[in-house]
């Protein structure tokens, strides 16, 4: 059986993942602590409580951000 491959962009970078993948799995795979970041999927916020149930789709554009120093 062929594994589903997902092509999407994360912070503007093209990425290919083995699907199906949730936002929680994506963050864990990338090595980020879900409590310290926020995620936007196709310009809509993904609530932290929904990371586990939000499944990524081909062509998704994801933004993963955090707080940095600023004025």
């Amino acid at each position: 059986m062929m594994e589903t491959m997902l092509s999407l962009t994360v912070n503007g970078e093209a990425r290919t993942l083995a699907g199906p993948t949730s936002v929680a799995a994506l963050l864990a795979g990338l090595g980020f602590d879900a409590r310290k970041v926020a995620v936007e999927r196709n310009e809509a916020i993904v609530p932290r409580s929904a990371y586990g149930q939000t499944w990524l789709a081909p062509g998704d554009a994801l933004e993963i951000v955090h707080f940095i120093g600023g004025g």
Partner: protein, 268 residues
């Protein structure tokens, strides 16, 4: 009661923005520091209870890199997310929605800037973004020009603090517009903060002596030779300026008035 024996301790008890009470009248930025250790130490020395932060993409190539939150605990000081780098209402709303999800706060700092070299507040875009953010449930502290008409409009829209510049961001030129700031303070009912231009402690004191509710600054501390020491200087200057404002300065007079009595002088 004899005013000379009124207790001085009755003086300053802090200020309130969007229903939240703060003792410190100094808000500091977290940008431009050498490292996170210095950032944390400067915030501590400043006594600030609110710090501004920016929202940016994580570095996918370095997920283990230290983060601001590891050094500056958002449970101890309140993070005030800003819209630095946003040039449209849409970008500002997207950025602060992410900030709200990352931190869970509604209180935000809106800034929409024009191009270098002034980075002057773009008031048309700022008004548009403020409307969108208020619509979305944010409590907006707004960086603005020292423009009484625009400031009044932003206040009438529901912005919770008006934050005019004293000089361009990061310029350290000091309070260039005391007359306009005084007029803004006079007409504004929500908190009025000077949000840019402070270069050294006396600038912060001047802003407070004018009657501002608080001062927001970043570069003046971060770019000082000794940021920790400057942070302490700013804390003291803001306190001194507030006390001087409450005390009420003496009238200016053209000419001298001796402090020592002229009577009872000894004579040969």
């Amino acid at each position: 009661m004899d005013p000379r024996i009124e207790p001085a301790a009755a003086s300053d008890d802090g200020w309130t923005v969007a229903g939240r009470r703060f003792r410190s009248r100094l808000i500091v930025g977290t940008g431009k520091y050498k490292d996170f250790e210095q950032t944390a130490a400067a915030i501590e020395a400043s006594g600030a209870e609110i710090v501004t932060v920016a929202v940016r993409r994580v570095n996918l190539a370095d997920p283990g890199a230290p983060m601001l939150q590891d050094y500056v605990d958002p449970k101890r000081v309140m993070y005030l997310p800003n819209t630095a780098g946003c040039h449209t209402a849409q970008e500002a709303v997207r950025t602060l929605r992410l900030a709200r999800e990352a931190g869970g706060w509604n209180l935000v700092k809106l800034e929409v800037l024009g191009p270098p070299p002034t980075l002057y507040p773009d008031m048309a875009a700022t008004v548009e973004a403020a409307a969108a953010l208020i619509q979305d449930g944010f409590e907006v502290m707004v960086y603005c020009a020292d423009d009484p008409v625009a400031a009044k409009r932003l206040e009438a829209m529901g912005c919770v603090a008006i934050m005019p510049l004293g000089a361009p961001i990061g310029s350290g030129l000091g309070i260039q517009n005391p007359a306009m700031l005084s007029m803004l303070i006079e007409q504004t009912e929500v908190p009025l903060l000077v949000d840019a231009g402070v270069g050294t402690a006396s600038d912060a004191a001047i802003a407070m002596e004018l009657g501002c509710d608080a001062v927001l600054l970043n570069s003046a501390i971060a770019l000082a030779k000794d940021p920790i020491r400057m942070a302490r200087a700013m804390r003291l200057a803001v306190e001194a300026g507030r006390e001087a404002f409450l005390a009420g300065r003496m009238a200016r007079r053209m000419g001298a008035d001796p402090s020592s009595p002229l009577t009872g002088l000894i004579r040969r």
